[in-house]
């Protein structure tokens, strides 16, 4: 634990960035190498301020780019200690190369991604383009829908990634501005409680352990590469066990329960949307409205994006008639990523709900409760008709002529 304690109130008012930084501070990180970028800049600024005021015993290295931030994190993690950083969008795009190296070298660390659109055109607001960019990077990827969850998932992330059965880096996603800059009531743990929960860092193959000189970042070609990528995938897939344990332990400590897939009123839902991020909270209000109209709506949100909870999400959608997968990212010439994941999840299950793909909210375009209600009404109509209304994919909330693809 850091030598200087910060006394916290039972309820604090923090935005998502402060929530992330407070959890990072409490986790007693050894090295943070970081570079600021909107909308995650305040994470770096907050951390710098904590450091400047003696609340951080570890090293804080302000590097010259996001690529260097992740490079420094990899070097530091391989040296043998706890490491974290934060970024968004273009910064993430710049550090992508090193994301693969961090996971391939099996170096636990935590990366806060404050989700933001990718240029061009340049945009600083929230969408999930950057989240999707990390899909195949071999990191565990946790999603949050509010500042409280950002705080909670950060604490869990260290514990999950550093577990000896996992040893993988972990991303904590939050929506740019909608979460990162939205102050809400937060129920934090006190420093000792939080630090004890995260636990002591256990080094493995550390470069600073000179009793066991180790070489990291080797070259493997066709004779060895496959085995190591297989091993890495296996660790990622089996991290579910540790994730479940950590979530359970966190619930015991905080009373807040987390699941691989979160849902609202899915028990008897006939139609559903599947979302990521803050849309989950708006959708709950829309669901309540729909229920007033007699439409049995529900919403499903992915908490653990990687490893993808294929079975859990499929189970949740077994009794619905129509599902809209909501992708907040330009799909780049196909259906959205979430649509693909859900289709894959359902294909080998008995259920065959109507499955459509909605592209929405790009570059921070608002998704209102009103629009969500319209989406539910359309789903309801499709469910009643027993078929999709003309196409699989459509854009919602964009000005100009209607955009629909993949006619059915």
């Amino acid at each position: 634990m850091n030598s200087k304690i910060m006394e916290l109130n039972k309820v604090e008012v923090w935005d998502g960035n402060m929530a992330a930084t407070q959890a990072m501070r409490q986790a007693d990180i050894d090295v943070v190498a970081a570079y600021p970028i909107t909308p995650s800049t305040p994470v770096v600024e907050n951390y710098a301020t904590f450091h400047a005021n003696g609340y951080i015993d570890g090293e804080f290295v302000m590097v010259e780019s996001e690529h260097a931030a992740m490079s420094g994190c990899v070097g530091a993690a391989a040296a043998g200690g706890r490491v974290a950083t934060a970024t968004s969008s273009q910064g993430l795009a710049l550090m992508v190369e090193v994301l693969y190296q961090a996971s391939g070298m099996r170096l636990p660390m935590v990366l806060n991604i404050v989700n933001r659109a990718l240029a061009s055109p340049l945009n600083v607001n929230g969408d999930h383009s950057d989240l999707y960019l990390t899909r195949d990077s071999g990191w565990i990827s946790l999603c949050t829908f509010s500042p409280q969850e950002v705080y909670d998932m950060n604490l869990c992330a260290f514990k999950i990634g550093e577990h000896m059965d996992v040893r993988l880096p972990v991303i904590v996603n939050q929506d740019g501005f909608l979460s990162s800059h939205t102050a809400q009531n937060i129920y934090p743990l006190q420093d000792k409680e939080a630090c004890d929960f995260v636990g002591e860092y256990k080094p493995l193959n550390a470069m600073l352990d000179f009793s066991r000189p180790v070489t990291h970042g080797v070259q493997t070609e066709e004779d060895w590469h496959f085995e190591h990528k297989a091993k890495q995938h296996d660790a990622l897939m089996n991290s579910t066990k540790v994730i479940a344990e950590v979530f359970a332990e966190f619930e015991k400590l905080s009373g807040r329960k987390y699941n691989f897939v979160e849902s609202y009123k899915m028990e008897d839902a006939e139609i559903a949307i599947v979302v990521l991020g803050t849309t989950y909270e708006s959708a709950q209000l829309a669901v309540d409205k729909m229920r007033e109209e007699g439409i049995k709506a529900g919403v499903v949100a992915i908490r653990v994006f990687r490893p993808f909870p294929l079975k859990e999400v499929s189970d949740m959608l077994q009794n619905v008639k129509a599902v809209a997968c909501m992708d907040r990212s330009a799909p780049g010439g196909s259906v959205g990523a979430l649509y693909n994941e859900i289709s894959g999840a359902l294909f080998n299950s008995p259920a065959r709900p109507l499955l459509s793909n909605i592209i929405y909210g790009l570059g921070g375009r608002d998704m209102t409760i009103g629009v969500l209600c319209d989406i539910y009404r359309d789903l309801d109509a499709e469910a009643k008709a027993g078929k999709l209304n003309g196409s699989i994919q459509r854009f919602v909330g964009v000005r100009g002529p209607e955009l629909k693809y993949y006619k059915v």
């Binding site: 050894d30 190498a33 570890g58 391989a78 490491v83 090193v98």
Partner: protein, 318 residues
């Protein structure tokens, strides 16, 4: 506390217990490994070493083997500097927190990169590390070409050299630009110590490496690494060609302390003509034609002017 090895003479140096093993797969006659051995053998301290993607990296860490008896890491092409800076920061953090006992001797942090990784793709990362003042040594293994990938030009490739992406042809004499002056650039960062070294002048090199290890802060070493494969000389001639490089003053050996105090550390008794240095390397063979002969004369003038400049800088002490 310095773990520098006491090196009175070559015989004493040869008692070093090597930490760089054979059966790496660098080319026969490669100067990289000579340089690496000279650096590792200059200290008794524990070492954390990083390498950028390049010849040294791919040839010494091919799974499931390593040639390193030190801690070692490779991340990418551009970031051996930042990788070692990260490790250095971790060392600091763990010592501050008491997780590494204070009485455990400080290790040395050394990053290696080729000239492609240094002059080109990793330039920003190195500059960042030097600006931040990490306690580390960055060693550029300067063979003036992307040798690992088969001889493409870098911004260290000298004018007139034929490289695969700046080939000599009927209308071209090869590389069109002069190499970047990395040493001056790194000195301008205010680094406590920067130096140009060559493995053939081993004692000069060992002294500089040890000075670098003793300096507080980031140290830059530009190590001339004659490349048998891409400079196209016989593998047995690595030291002979290196001697031509240092004795012709194409690679002058000097150091700059604290960004200002410049010392020439090697003055050849008999200065060799640049022409002789170029003639030993078929990468320059097209220059020895009436059409391009003038480039050799120009080169000699540049070397003379640079030598003059270095001597004046040395005298001026600014």
């Amino acid at each position: 506390m310095s773990g520098n090895k006491e090196i009175k003479n070559l015989k004493a140096f040869s008692t070093a217990a090597e930490r760089f093993e054979g059966s790496h797969v660098l080319c026969p006659g490669c100067a990289h490994s000579i340089i690496v051995r000279e650096i590792l053998n200059a200290t008794n301290d524990n070492m954390v070493v990083s390498a950028s993607t390049g010849c040294l990296e791919v040839c010494t860490a091919i799974y499931p083997h390593t040639s390193w008896d030190t801690s070692w890491i490779h991340i990418g092409f551009e970031n051996s500097s930042t990788a070692i800076a990260g490790a250095e920061a971790m060392n600091k953090a763990l010592r501050n927190k008491g997780r590494i006992p204070a009485d455990e001797p400080e290790p040395k942090f050394v990053a290696f990169g080729g000239d492609g990784a240094t002059y080109d793709i990793g330039f920003q990362w190195i500059s960042g590390c030097f600006e931040r003042g990490h306690n580390m040594m960055y060693v550029c293994l300067d063979n003036e070409v992307y040798a690992n990938t088969g001889g493409q030009r870098s911004s260290s490739t000298p004018i007139g050299a034929s490289a695969t992406t700046s080939p000599a042809g009927s209308t071209s004499y090869g590389e069109k630009r002069n190499k970047k002056d990395m040493l001056q650039i790194m000195a301008a960062h205010g680094a406590p110590y920067v130096a140009q070294v060559a493995p053939n002048k081993w004692k000069d090199m060992a002294k500089k490496i040890q000075k670098g290890f003793d300096a507080e802060g980031p140290v830059y070493i530009n190590a001339m690494s004659a490349c048998t494969t891409e400079w196209k000389f016989d593998p047995a001639d690595t030291i002979t060609v290196s001697d031509l490089a240092t004795d012709s003053l194409v690679f002058p050996l000097y150091e700059i302390i604290d960004g200002t105090e410049l010392n020439i550390t090697y003055r050849p008794k008999n200065i060799v003509a640049v022409r002789d240095y170029l003639a030993a390397q078929p990468r320059f063979k097209h220059l020895f034609t009436p059409k391009y002969e003038y480039l050799i004369d120009e080169w000699q003038k540049r070397v003379d002017a640079q030598w003059e400049y270095l001597q004046r800088r040395e005298e001026a002490r600014v």
